[in-house]
C-alpha cells in the first residue's frame, strides 16, 4: 500500500465496503504514515461539516396545504383520463 492507493480508498474505507485484507493493509499503512492519517481525518471532517453545513429546512405548512389542494384538483381532473397501469 502506498499513499496514493490509500487516499483513493478513503471513501470505501469509511463506507466499510472494503474487504478485510485491504482494511488491514490500510490500517498498517496509516499506522506508519502520518500524512495519510491526517488526510483521512480531514476527509472525514469534511464529510461531517458538509452534513452539518446546511441543516434540513422544512417547507412552510401553508405551502404544503396549498400544494395538496392543487394536487387534489389536478388529481380529480385527471380521473376521467385515468392513469394507465
Amino acid at each position: 500500500m502506498n499513499c496514493k492507493i490509500c487516499s483513493t480508498l478513503f471513501q470505501e474505507f469509511l463506507e466499510k465496503s472494503l474487504c478485510e485484507e485491504l482494511i488491514a493493509e490500510m490500517d498498517d499503512h496509516m499506522q506508519a504514515c502520518r500524512k495519510c492519517r491526517t488526510s483521512l481525518r480531514t476527509y472525514k471532517l469534511t464529510i461531517m461539516l458538509s452534513q452539518q453545513a446546511d441543516p434540513p429546512c422544512c417547507v412552510r405548512p401553508e405551502t404544503v396545504d396549498r400544494l395538496k389542494k392543487i394536487l387534489l384538483q389536478r388529481f380529480f381532473a385527471k380521473e376521467d383520463v385515468k392513469i394507465k397501469v
Binding site: T8, Q51, D54, V85
Partner: protein
C-alpha cells in the same frame, strides 16, 4: 385489513395512486415534500424556486406516474424528477455550468494543512459552515450535485446513480473528488485564519 397509510410502503402507495386514490397521493406528499424541497433548495439555493420546483415535481408525479413501471423505484424516480427540475431552473437562470472538466482534477489532493485538531467550536462555527456552503456551490456542477445528494441529503450511492442516470462508480468518483476539493478549500481557509503562515512553507 387495510393497512394504515403511514405504514404502507411507497410502492403500495404508488399502486394506489395509479388506481386513482387521492389519499395515497396525500401520504406521498406528506412523506416526500420536505425531501423534495430540501434537495431543490440545496441545488438552487433559492427558497422560492424550491417551492415552485416542489409543486412542479408533484404535478409531474400525477401526470407521469403511469410511466413508472417498477413502483419500487419511486423515490429514485422522484429524485430524478427533482434534480431535472432544479437543473431546468438553473439553466433558465444561467447558473448551470460545467466549469471544470471533472477528469482534470487530481484524485490525490493532499491536505496542505492539518486542521483536524482544531476545536469543535472552530470547526463547527457559522463562519466555517458558510465557507463550506460557498465552496460546495463553487464545485463543478457534476460534483456539486453528487456532494449535495450524498453528504447533505443522505441519499445512497445507488439512488444518486439512478437519479442522475450514471453508474455507481461514476457517482463515487465525483463524490470523492468533490470531497477532496472541499477539504483543500477548507484547509486553505483554516490555515489563513488560524496560523500566521502564508502557505508556501510546507
Amino acid at each position: 385489513m387495510v393497512k394504515k397509510r403511514d405504514k404502507q410502503s411507497d410502492a403500495d402507495l404508488v399502486r394506489e395512486i395509479k388506481r386513482g386514490d387521492a389519499r395515497a397521493m396525500e401520504e406521498i406528499v406528506k412523506r416526500y415534500s420536505n425531501k423534495v424541497y430540501n434537495l431543490a433548495y440545496h441545488l438552487t439555493r433559492d427558497s422560492a424556486a424550491a417551492e415552485e420546483i416542489m409543486q412542479d415535481v408533484f404535478l409531474t408525479v400525477i401526470s407521469k406516474i403511469g410511466t413508472l413501471t417498477n413502483e419500487e423505484y419511486f423515490s429514485t424516480w422522484l429524485y430524478r424528477v427533482t434534480t431535472n427540475a432544479a437543473y431546468g431552473f438553473l439553466r433558465k437562470e444561467k447558473k448551470f455550468s460545467e466549469q471544470t472538466p471533472v477528469e482534470n482534477i487530481d484524485q490525490e489532493v493532499q491536505p496542505s494543512y492539518d486542521w483536524s485538531d482544531l476545536p469543535d467550536d472552530v470547526l463547527l462555527s457559522e463562519e466555517s459552515k458558510e465557507v463550506l456552503r460557498k465552496s460546495i456551490d463553487a464545485l463543478p456542477e457534476a460534483m456539486r450535485t453528487v456532494v449535495i445528494m450524498k453528504d447533505m441529503e443522505g441519499l445512497k450511492n445507488e439512488e444518486i446513480a439512478e437519479a442522475l442516470g450514471m453508474s455507481v462508480p461514476a457517482v463515487k468518483s465525483r463524490l470523492h473528488r468533490g470531497r477532496l476539493i472541499l477539504r483543500d478549500l477548507l484547509a486553505g481557509y483554516f490555515r489563513k485564519k488560524y496560523t500566521n503562515h502564508s502557505g508556501d512553507d510546507e
